[in-house]
C-alpha cells in the first residue's frame, strides 16, 4: 500500500484521538501533562486558546473527546478529560496578564455579533486582539447565552460564567449591547458593520401536541424556557409530582432542577429506548442517582386534567420495528396504556431555529428546514457579510461546537474584512519535537499507569438536593487529578519511523506491549491489516506504513491501541524510532496564533 505521508498534519492529528474528536481541536494530552506537573495556569491557557471557556466546559462539555480516547480501547474507561479541564480552571492563578493584549488603536473595522452565547463570544475573543471593534447584542442582561440561561446552577456556578465571559467582554475591543433584542437584520445592516455574525442559538423549544395540552396549559412548561426562568429566579418551585418528557440533556437538566425545586416524584419519560437517548451517559447516571426513574418506550397520548389543573398523562407503550424500507419506526406494542399522575409536565423534546427578525427580501437564503444556507467551512451565508455559528448555523448542537464555529467564523470574517478569499483557509500550526533526553529518558512521563478511572467526588444527595445553587460535583482535588492525569497515554507523543536507519532487528516488535508493529511483505491495505502480528480490524484507525527497508519488506504499525510508551524507541539500537511530540493548534485569525505552541 502507499507509504504513510507523515508530513500531512492530519495523519498524526488523527492519532491524537481526543484532539481530533474535539470540534475545537484542543491539544488535550498537552494540557493533561501540565496538570500532572501542577502547571494549572499553563494548562488553563492551552485550553483557553482552543476552547475559550475551560471552566464552563470543564463542567458541562458533551466531551466528544472521551468516547474517542484511546485509553477506552485498551482498558475499560477513557481518561476523565473533561473533569481534568475543570481542575486546570479551579487551580489556576491569575491568567489575565497572559491573554493577548487588545490594541489601543483599532483597525477601523466594526463587527456585530448577534447573541452573546459561546459562538459570538468566541468570534469576539478571536477578533478583538486584532483591532476589530466587536459589538455584541443580547436580549439578556449578561453575556453567556444558553450557558447562562439553560445550564442549571448546580452544574455550573454563575461565578464561572461571569469570569470567563469577562475575559472576553471586559478587556476592551468589545462593546456589549445587553438587554437589547435585535428585531431587524435590515436595520442592523444599515448601521454599516463590516461584517455580522449571527450566533443567536436555537431559541424555540418544540411543543407537545396531544389532547388536553391546551386545557392544562398552566402546568405544562417548555423545558428550555422553564430552565431559563429557573436560572433567572423567576420560578422557584414546582409541583410535587413532575413528568419530564424527552431523552436529551435538556430533559436531564429539567428533571434534576425539578428535584431541587420541590419535585419529590420526578419521572423522565422517553419515546425510544434507554440506549438511544440523546443525553450523555453520565447525565443519565447523575439523574438516576438523584432518585429519578427513566421510563422508556412510552409515547405521550393524552394529558389528563380536572378543573383546569393537570392531573397526569397517559402514554402508549411502543416498540421499535423496521418498515419495508428498513427505516426504524415506533409501533404500538399492544400492551396496556400507562398512566402517570403528575402536577407539572416539562417538555424537553427538542429545539428549533427561528429567525423571525431576518427579513425575507434581504438575500439571505434558508433551506427547507428553516436553517440558513451556508458554506460549511467558512460559515458564510448567501449574504457575503453575514456569517453564522453555533446552534443558529446547523441546528442545536453544544457549546464546544459553538466555539469551533466561532473560530472558523472569526477566520472567515478576518479574511473577508481584509479583502482576502474566504474559502482559502489558513493551515494549522504544527510543531514536532523529539522527546529524547538520553538513552532511556524521555521528556514526557512514558510510564503507563495501570489505574482505572477515578470517580469525581459528588456532594451527598441530602446536601445537593436542598439548594439548586449547590454545585453537585466537587471536582477532583490535586492529588486525584494527578492520578487521573497519569492515565493519559500521551497519544500526541508520536512514534516516528525512519526506514533508512532501521536494521530490522525486531527489537521494537518484541518489546511492544500491544503488538502493534509488524515487519512484513507489502500488500493491499485490507489484506495487509489481516496479517499483522495482531490483525488491525479497527478500520477507523490508520496503519502507519513505511517502505525503504533493506529486505524490501515494509514496517506496518497499527495505531489503534498503541500505548505511546516509547518502548519501541527505547529498544531501537539505531534511533529508527523516535518519540516526537506533535503539537497542533488549529488555525485562528492571524495575530492570535501559535499560542498553545508557545506555552512550552
Amino acid at each position: 500500500m502507499t507509504p504513510t505521508d507523515i508530513r500531512n498534519p492530519d495523519y498524526f492529528h488523527k492519532v491524537v484521538d481526543c484532539q481530533w474528536a474535539c470540534p475545537a481541536h484542543t491539544p488535550v494530552p498537552e494540557y493533561i501533562r501540565m496538570i500532572a506537573a501542577g502547571r494549572y495556569s499553563d494548562a488553563y491557557m492551552v485550553n483557553w486558546h482552543s476552547n475559550v471557556f475551560p471552566g464552563v466546559l470543564g463542567r458541562t462539555c458533551d466531551r466528544p473527546c472521551e468516547p474517542a480516547c484511546r485509553r477506552g480501547r485498551v482498558e475499560e474507561e477513557p481518561v476523565a478529560i473533561c473533569r481534568l479541564k475543570r481542575v486546570a480552571a479551579d487551580n489556576k492563578e491569575g491568567v489575565l496578564a497572559r491573554m493577548p493584549p487588545i490594541p489601543a488603536i483599532g483597525n477601523g473595522k466594526r463587527i456585530a455579533c448577534i447573541g452573546a452565547g459561546p459562538a459570538s463570544l468566541t468570534v469576539a475573543r478571536d477578533l478583538a486582539p486584532l483591532g476589530y471593534e466587536v459589538h455584541v447584542f443580547d436580549e439578556q442582561a449578561k453575556g453567556g447565552g444558553f450557558i447562562r440561561s439553560q445550564i442549571p446552577r448546580f452544574r455550573l456556578p454563575e461565578s464561572v460564567i461571569d469570569e470567563e465571559v469577562g475575559y472576553i467582554t471586559d478587556r476592551g475591543g468589545v462593546v456589549t449591547h445587553y438587554n437589547q433584542r435585535v428585531g431587524s437584520l435590515r436595520a442592523l445592516l444599515a448601521e454599516g458593520y463590516d461584517a455580522v455574525f449571527i450566533g443567536a442559538g436555537a431559541p424555540r423549544g418544540r411543543d407537545l401536541d396531544v389532547p388536553g395540552r391546551q386545557e392544562a396549559a398552566a402546568n405544562i412548561h417548555i423545558g428550555i424556557d422553564w430552565l431559563s426562568s429557573v436560572s433567572f429566579g423567576h420560578i422557584e418551585s414546582v409541583g410535587r409530582r413532575v413528568i419530564v418528557l424527552g431523552g436529551g440533556n435538556t430533559a436531564m437538566d429539567c428533571c434534576r432542577s425539578a428535584r431541587r425545586l420541590g419535585g419529590e416524584q420526578v419521572t423522565v419519560v422517553v419515546r425510544s429506548g434507554f440506549e438511544e437517548m440523546k443525553a450523555s451517559p453520565w447525565e443519565k447516571e447523575d439523574a438516576m442517582h438523584e432518585g429519578i426513574p427513566i421510563l422508556n418506550w412510552l409515547v405521550p397520548k393524552q394529558v389528563l386534567h380536572e378543573g383546569g389543573r393537570l392531573t397526569g398523562m397517559v402514554f402508549e407503550k411502543v416498540k421499535a420495528e423496521r418498515d419495508a424500507n428498513g427505516r426504524r419506526q415506533l409501533v404500538p406494542s399492544g400492551e396496556p396504556d400507562v398512566t402517570i399522575e403528575a402536577d407539572d409536565v416539562l417538555v424537553a423534546i427538542g429545539q428549533e431555529n427561528a429567525f423571525p427578525w431576518i427579513e425575507a427580501d434581504l438575500g439571505l437564503e434558508f433551506d427547507r428546514w428553516g436553517l440558513p444556507k451556508l458554506n460549511e467551512k467558512t460559515l458564510q451565508s448567501t449574504l457575503p457579510q453575514v456569517f453564522f455559528g453555533g446552534d443558529a448555523a446547523f441546528g442545536p448542537k453544544n457549546i464546544i461546537w459553538a466555539v469551533a464555529h466561532g473560530h472558523e467564523a472569526a477566520v472567515s470574517i478576518d479574511r473577508f474584512c481584509q479583502g482576502e478569499d474566504v474559502t482559502q483557509r489558513p493551515p494549522p500550526d504544527v510543531v514536532m519535537s523529539s522527546q529524547k533526553m538520553g538513552i532511556h529518558e524521555w521528556s514526557y512521563d512514558s510510564a503507563v499507569s495501570p489505574d482505572l478511572r477515578f470517580k469525581v467526588p459528588h456532594a451527598e444527595n441530602e446536601v445537593a438536593l436542598r439548594d439548586i445553587k449547590t454545585e453537585v460535583e466537587l471536582g477532583y482535588d490535586r492529588e486525584l487529578a494527578f492520578k487521573e492525569a497519569q492515565r493519559c497515554l500521551n497519544c500526541d507523543v508520536q512514534t516516528v519511523f525512519t526506514s533508512k536507519l532501521c536494521i530490522e532487528c525486531d527489537a521494537c516488535v518484541d518489546i511492544c506491549p500491544v503488538d502493534c508493529i509488524t515487519f512484513t511483505e507489502d500488500g493491499e491495505e485490507m489484506e495487509l491489516r489481516d496479517r499483522l502480528k495482531m490483525p488491525a480490524h479497527n478500520l477507523e484507525q490508520a496503519i502507519y506504513v513505511a517502505d525503504g527497508l533493506k529486505t524490501g519488506r515494509v514496517m506496518a504499525k497499527d495505531e489503534d491501541v498503541c500505548l505511546h510508551c516509547g518502548m519501541c524507541a527505547e529498544r531501537c539500537p539505531t534511533g529508527a524510532w523516535d518519540m516526537q511530540k506533535f503539537l497542533l493548534e488549529s488555525a485562528k485569525p492571524k495575530a492570535e496564533r501559535v499560542h498553545a505552541c508557545a506555552i512550552r
Partner: protein
C-alpha cells in the same frame, strides 16, 4: 537498556492458548541487554513457542551459564524454574537436574563463549550422553560482555569492529553436535522468527538431545561490515534447507503443497514435524549426508539453516542408564537410601 518495566496492558484481542494464558504470561523481566540485541529476539521466539505449545510454565526448567546469552532466561518464562550456573557449566547442572527429575522440560540457554570455549567439554559430553533437553546457543561470534574480542565461533577472516581480522579456525557447533549424536539439530537466525519459532517448538517436543545453533547478531560489537555474524551478512548468505511446521494434536493441513515438497516426520511424543523442502536433495534424516552437505555448503560460503537432522526415535540418557522413571523428590527415603544391605548386594554383584 530500559529502566521502566514493560506496561502490563496488552492488546485487547490478544489470544489465549489451551491453558487460558496469553503470550504475555510467558514473559519475564524486561531485558537489560543492549537495545537491538539478537538475544532478545530469541527470548521472544522461546516465549512464542512455549505459548503455542500450551506449556505449563512450572513444567519448564531453564538453565544457563555466564554471558549475555546466559542472562536471557531472566527475560522469558518468569514463572518457570531457573538456574544460572557457573561459566560453561550449564550442561552438567542440566544433566544433574534431568537425572533427578525427568518430568520437567529442560531448556539450556548458552552462548558461543559459554559453549564453544570455557564449556566446550561440557557441551560435548551432554550431547554425547544423550540428555533429553533443548540446548540453544545464542551465537554472536564475539565476546560481547568484554567488549568484542573474537569468540571460538568467529569465522576465519571475519573482521572485528576495530578492523582486526580473525586468523583462527571457527568451531562449528552444528558439526560437533551432529558428530556427537544429537538427535535433533537445527540452525537458525534471530532475525527470522518464522523459521526459529517452529524449530524451538520441534526441539521442545523432541525426546532426546536437541541442539539449536542460533546466529544472533551483537549490535554493539559485531554488526559492522566485514563481520560474518551481522544482520546484513546473515540475511545475504542464509540458505534455508526447509521450512518447519510443528503439528500437535489434530491440526488440519491448511496449506497445499506439491507432491514431494513436504515430508512429515512423526516424533516419539506424537507431534508431527512437517518439513517443506526448499532443497529437493536434502534429507534431514541422514546424519552422514547432513554432515557432508553442511561442509559442502560452508565451503561455498553459505550459512545453512533449518532443521538439519532429525532422528524421530531417539534414545536418551535415562534409557541408556535404565534409571527409575519417578522423580527422585517423589521417592521415599527407603528407596533413596536403601541401606548397607543393599549396598552389600550391589558390591557382591560386582565381584
Amino acid at each position: 537498556m530500559s529502566f521502566l518495566p514493560k506496561p502490563k496492558l496488552h492488546h485487547p484481542k490478544l489470544p489465549t492458548n489451551a491453558l487460558g494464558y496469553t503470550r504475555r504470561d510467558y514473559e519475564g523481566a524486561i531485558s537489560t541487554l543492549c537495545a537491538g540485541c539478537g538475544h532478545d529476539s530469541i527470548s521472544a521466539a522461546i516465549i512464542q513457542a512455549c505459548f503455542e505449545l500450551d506449556i505449563e510454565p512450572h513444567r519448564v526448567a531453564k538453565m544457563s551459564g555466564i554471558g549475555c546469552s546466559s542472562k536471557t532466561p531472566d527475560y522469558f518464562l518468569g514463572a518457570s524454574h531457573g538456574f544460572n550456573s557457573v561459566h560453561g557449566r550449564m550442561p552438567s547442572v542440566l544433566t544433574g537436574a534431568n537425572l533427578a527429575n525427568r518430568e520437567l522440560l529442560y531448556l539450556g540457554v548458552s552462548g558461543d563463549g559459554d559453549s564453544a570455549s570455557i564449556g566446550f567439554g561440557q557441551f560435548a559430553h551432554s550431547i554425547r550422553r544423550g540428555v533429553n533437553m533443548t540446548y540453544i546457543v545464542e551465537n554472536n561470534g564475539v565476546y560481547g560482555l568484554t567488549k568484542g574480542q573474537f569468540s571460538a565461533t568467529s569465522d576465519k577472516g571475519s573482521k572485528a569492529k576495530k578492523g582486526t581480522v580473525n586468523t583462527d579456525e571457527a568451531i562449528d557447533l552444528i558439526g560437533i553436535a551432529l558428530q556427537l549424536g544429537a538427535t535433533y539439530v537445527a540452525r537458525s537466525f534471530s532475525g527470522d522468527k518464522d523459521q526459529l519459532v517452529p524449530l524451538i517448538k520441534g526441539a521442545m517436543r523432541h525426546d532426546g538431545p536437541a541442539f539449536i545453533d542460533c546466529i544472533s547478531p551483537c549490535v554493539a560489537f559485531n554488526n559492522h561490515e566485514g563481520s560474518t555474524k551481522s544482520y546484513d551478512f546473515v540475511r545475504e548468505h542464509n540458505e534455508a534447507m526447509n521450512r518447519l511446521d510443528v503439528i500437535t494434536g489434530r491440526a488440519p493441513i491448511t496449506a497445499d503443497y506439491e507432491p514431494g515438497e513436504v515430508r512429515e516426520v512423526e516424533q516419539h511424543d506424537g507431534s508431527i514435524l512437517r518439513l517443506r523442502k526448499l532443497h529437493a536433495e536434502y534429507d534431514p534424516t541422514n546424519r552422514v549426508a547432513a554432515m557432508h552437505h553442511l561442509h559442502e555448503r560452508k565451503a561455498a560460503g553459505e550459512i545453512v539453516t533449518g532443521l538439519l537432522f532429525i532422528d524421530p526415535e531417539p534414545r536418551d540418557l535415562h534409557a541408556n542408564l535404565n534409571t527409575v522413571a519417578r522423580p527422585l523428590n517423589r521417592l521415599g527415603d527407603a528407596a533413596l537410601v536403601p541401606g548397607a544391605a543393599a549396598l552389600e548386594a550391589v558390591n557382591a554383584g560386582l565381584r
